[in-house]
Symmetry: C2
Subunit: 718 residues, 2 copies
């Protein structure tokens, strides 16, 4: 009775609120960092993405990017609350292109699309349900917008048309006007937040890439993996024993294939789906000894797990009070917004695994499907809604291990099934079961807009050709991995291409100095190491409107589709990678303006043009910018460890003056946070006699210096 009265009173207030709404003013925006503005609308949730990720904005790095003017006309940004919702509107100019909204697999351009941002397994359609539905978009006008919400947001990315729109397209008579369109021009991005308030952020450019940098830096800067994280990794079949894993490492040695860490799949645990987070003593009788043996072979170990706790786990009784109303596969679901739950899990994985030498984790099944995870009617002891827990679960899980390894001053690099806005600094790479090679590349492109990392992992293949094509691309990704959990494949599983596969496995190792420096730029400057061409200066490819179908019977509304470039991308500052897919022998490559050269030969390839390449099965086309400097090392089977010197081969392409900043630190600890790192300047230019000459600066006194001999290789013969 009492409670009923309260509903009534409150509902009166709610009804009152319906009539209440704010329109955002310039004054509503406060600059929280150079080029970063925040607006708070209504009553935002306590749990949002930035709080879940526990971000620590890299303010110094942001200042280096410099100040900027607010990039949008503030009076055209509106925010209204009422009816239990918040409605946001941001202006769009004609022809303005939108990118982002998380890890999409089939689309790069987002204008004209509607997305419901919802953490989920990717289901084959870009509808907002994906592993990282980051509510962040950028446009080619050089700014970004982030909605700091842990709710399922509905995004209308230039679809709705308001009666009072200044750019309303007007109407056409479909009976007689051939220019009638089912989707008239829209001049706004509108977003529905299904609660009574939200925080909104705007990130300035000037370039799109700058807006992405500011977003990543505000999130704390990109992660800096350990050097070994950039080596090669193999995930073994799910029921392998410690003896089989040791043997696996030996086989890599024998075949002369590089290997830095091995991933153990569910069988390492005494039970899985749900999990005990404890070793299975039948398959792993002595984990400590096993880990030591592997370490001696130069191999680290990564452990698969999912977050649902089995009643057979020693922590079950302890964690029960901190779990939600529903189970997943019979396991309880920890409410990770509660410190108590985090502490219990942290203690368990530390005691049982990290303290005896485990180097990282693969956090599985934090994303979906709906029919597997807790329903949205579930309740959690923190009072946070099931929806909010779903949207932040990947972040909360990454944070547990990130914090644990950080406390041990030991870097980690692992895999996560889901993430969200604010997670850039977590040392985790997203993966999934979807396995379309083409769409995996699109995801790699979109990861660069979203502040996340993605690996187009190799599992199995129908042919040697597919195997090699997939392998070639995974070597130009954040994590070079074969995931053999169910297939039992190995790099040499297709003998007909073993030689070519090995060539790329070793090339990956040779590229570590370059990749490591690019990741350092991700961390210190926010620049995504893998990114789409649209972030490249000089990439002016214009999208074409293509009418799908003019048969009214089959397609009554003849809707247009947009031609997108989703099959080539940048690896770091200088490398343009253009994969081929099974069945392809030739493809087109779009070279941005400026002179480009073949990575393998140094030959001139083109300048601001579309070229056709027929590289043969053994090669993945890679092109290099004029003046590019690519620091490489000898092909090694295991990445170098802290303090271990390595020789450099510095490649130089083209004829423009070359400059590169090489990053160096111990590669394993967080001492770089105390300034124990160095940037070394590499220059290549003609000397007085006109002879091309390269120089590399020394590392500062007292800073790490792992560089041995330096050899120069000028790839382009002029």
């Amino acid at each position: 009775m009492m409670t009923r009265k309260i509903t009534v009173i409150a509902s009166v207030f709610i009804i009152f609120l319906l009539t209440f709404s704010v329109s955002a003013q310039t004054s509503s925006w406060s600059e929280v960092a150079p080029g970063v503005w925040k607006m708070s609308v209504g009553t935002p949730d306590k749990l949002d993405l930035f709080r879940a990720a526990d971000i620590k904005p890299a303010l110094n790095a942001l200042s280096k990017l410099g100040t900027a003017a607010f990039p949008l006309p503030p009076e055209r940004i509106t925010a209204q609350t009422g009816n239990g919702t918040t409605r946001l509107s941001f202006p769009l100019e004609k022809e303005e292109k939108i990118f982002g909204f998380g890890l999409n697999f089939k689309t790069v351009y987002q204008r004209g699309r509607i997305l419901q941002l919802h953490v989920d397994h990717y289901g084959g359609t870009d509808n907002g349900r994906t592993h990282a539905p980051v509510p962040f978009y950028i446009t080619d006008r050089g700014y970004g917008v982030f909605i700091n919400s842990s709710r399922y947001l509905t995004v209308y990315a230039g679809t709705g048309v308001r009666k009072d729109s200044p750019d309303a397209p007007g109407e056409r008579d479909r009976n007689t006007d051939d220019n009638w369109t089912a989707q008239p021009y829209s001049d706004a991005v509108e977003i529905l937040v299904p609660t009574s308030g939200v925080e909104v952020y705007v990130f300035a450019g000037p370039s799109m890439l700058d807006a992405v940098r500011r977003f990543n830096l505000y999130s704390g800067g990109g992660c800096l993996p350990p050097r070994w994280g950039l080596g090669f990794t193999q995930r073994v079949p799910r029921l392998y024993t410690s003896a089989q894993v040791v043997n696996e490492a030996k086989l890599f040695e024998e075949h002369g294939f590089p290997l830095d860490f091995i991933g153990l799949e569910p069988g390492w645990q005494s039970r899985s789906y749900p999990c005990t987070l404890e070793w299975d003593t039948s398959r792993f009788p002595d984990p400590l000894a096993f880990i030591r043996i592997m370490k001696e072979m130069g191999i680290r170990l990564n452990l698969w797990t999912n977050p649902y706790i089995s009643s057979k786990s020693s922590i079950y009784e302890k964690i029960l009070p901190f779990t939600g109303s529903h189970t997943v596969w019979g396991g309880v679901v920890p409410d990770l917004t509660l410190p108590g739950a985090v502490e219990i899990i942290t203690d368990q994985i530390d005691k049982s695994q990290v303290s005896i030498g485990i180097s990282g984790y693969k956090i599985d099944e934090s994303d979906g499907y709906d029919r597997w995870l807790w329903p949205d009617v579930a309740q959690f002891p923190s009072g946070n809604s099931a929806e909010q827990i779903r949207q932040t679960y990947g972040l909360l899980l990454q944070k547990i291990t990130t914090d644990l390894f950080h406390r041990k001053n030991q870097r980690t690099f692992g895999l996560t099934r889901s993430s969200n806005g604010g997670g850039s600094s977590f040392p985790y790479v997203i993966y999934n079961d979807y396995y379309s090679h083409e769409d995996f590349i699109t995801a790699l492109i979109n990861s660069g807009f979203a502040g996340v990392l993605w690996t187009p992992e190799v599992r199995s293949s129908k042919t040697g050709e597919e195997w090699l094509r997939r392998f070639q691309t995974v070597c130009f990704s954040p994590m070079a991995m074969i995931n053999a959990w169910s297939s039992g494949t190995r790099p040499w599983s297709f003998p007909e291409v073993e030689k070519e596969v090995k060539e790329y496995a070793l090339l990956r190792m040779q590229l570590i100095p370059y990749l490591y420096s690019e990741f350092a730029k991700y961390h210190f400057e926010g620049t995504p190491p893998f990114r789409g061409m649209n972030l490249e200066p000089g990439f002016n490819f214009r999208s074409k409107q293509v009418i799908k179908n003019s048969d009214l019977g089959e397609d009554p509304y003849g809707e247009a589709i947009v031609k997108e470039i989703r099959d080539q991308y940048m690896t770091g500052e200088y490398l343009l990678v253009a994969p081929l897919f099974t069945g392809q022998t030739t493809r087109e490559v779009i070279l941005p303006e400026g002179r480009w050269f073949d990575f393998y030969t140094g030959n001139y390839a083109g300048d601001g043009e579309i070229i056709k390449v027929t590289p043969g099965l053994g090669k993945i086309p890679v092109f290099v910018k004029d003046g590019a400097i690519i620091p490489m090392m000898k092909p090694v089977l295991h990445s170098t460890s802290a303090g271990q010197k390595f020789d450099l081969e510095i490649r130089y392409y083209g004829s423009a003056p070359g400059f590169y900043r090489l990053y160096d630190d111990d590669g394993e600890t967080f001492d770089y946070e105390q300034g124990l790192y160095s940037w070394r300047d590499i220059h290549v230019m003609p000397d007085k006699k006109g002879k091309i000459k390269g120089t590399i600066s020394k590392s500062e006194k007292g800073k790490p210096d792992n560089i041995g001999e330096v050899a120069w290789r000028f790839m382009t013969v002029n």
Copy 2:
């Protein structure tokens, strides 16, 4: 400032509410009609489905169905509010089968599925987005549940597992237990209502069909179309002129094809997409004369429209204040929850169309897609949310014309693109652009669970075979229609099958007495005239679990799929229709228990068994129950009009005592609401000499009597 304070205060209340929740008790349920219970949770929306449909429960008819006990253990039904949501849970028994949740196209069984009920064009997946996402489900335990909400509901139809579930399936170790499943057994239907209250209804059986009847009767009873509505209808190409339409009718006459009404597509209006709701005087210079000429040929007219108003319409300025914030194709969107908007539209269509003799409408584009309609951020002058307007728009639109024709005491029968719970009494049939023949049949089956009508309309076909197969099924549906708006097809478009097509067009006309009586049972007793086999007594087909794929690589979770019967259905009380699809020459038919006979020959077909049939291209397999009586009339080209007598041929099948109730009234007006109708009993049984004899009762004094000569045809030779 002021407003900000209010948010803060209110948010305090909202946070307080998070902790508040009700658990439903028996006492919460009030019996609002025999076998119909209602529970109100929290603070329901003012706008719900029943209010939008303005239902008038058929209480007398409901009493005839008799009383019943509350069909569920009330203590296992829970309802909780808080966090701006309402969470409902209803128990499920082991093996209990769930049907319903609206107009699904690919699935009949709904247990184990998750749906977000959302009015939309059907997009090819049964995910809750469809033209009639009716929040009503029934189970084979013989009861129904309806959520009277105008919100997007998330339904977990037996997927979630609560920690405290009495039937929790427990956990299995996926490492070692082959019986591990990705979707463990769930014992509840859980529903998320995204607002702080809702009304819930429970409908008793005893049979599933009884639960559906109670639902339809509580909604006001099914619609009773005019007799002419059950004849044949042709929709002409969109830019046809009045002269071309007259000529079309002549061609039907010449070819000897039946025709009761013609549908005019967008071209009748001066502008379309958005619409003016006014005649185009170039194509239709004299509508009044045109309508009269057609009437003289025995042809009525139906007008296509969509609800978005063009600025060129004479009602634009008047309706503007009653429209939402966003436009659709440049047209304004009337807020049909406002009487003012309804009045303006009603006046316009009455003045310009209905008052001069137009007989009905095809209401298009009331459903979706999201990218075409107003976004969920749109606001409407009534204060109802965009979501609520979206969910109820089809109901509100049907009501406008239903009420107008009712005031004129003139029945109508038309097409609507969307509907929802409570709409059973609206004389409208749902259609769409999806055009999969197989899935159209599944929709016909599901329409019977949802209190809506659906037509598998024929548009075009690639072959004469496809044309005939589609035509055969549309003749056994609520509306026998060719929609040639873009194809320009006619019944005889494929000369190679013209004879067979005509045979079924005429059979449709012969069946009108039977179909009309079955629709009368829909109206007076709530029995859906077209329905799935699962509503048939004696249909005990058990679903089989089929493992899709055991390759962990391709299907890591080896999820089960369920074999469903979605290719045969009942037309009225006695006819089992089993369509063939293009490419099929033979198929299996599942005959429920009881003896069944071939409709065409009267020969015995089988009893509770699966039979194989090879009917040839010219026939659609139809089977008849033992003792079935099918009242038929002579093949006519136009259905009979009020007062016009027609002769009956009464077919009888099998040998069991036959009984049928034949409905009769003027077929055009609502005088039946004043009791001006009659039910006539038809009996067939052996007389004293053992000779089969049929009798038909007279109609009551002063009641309509349109029956002329009666001929008997005993189809089964014993």
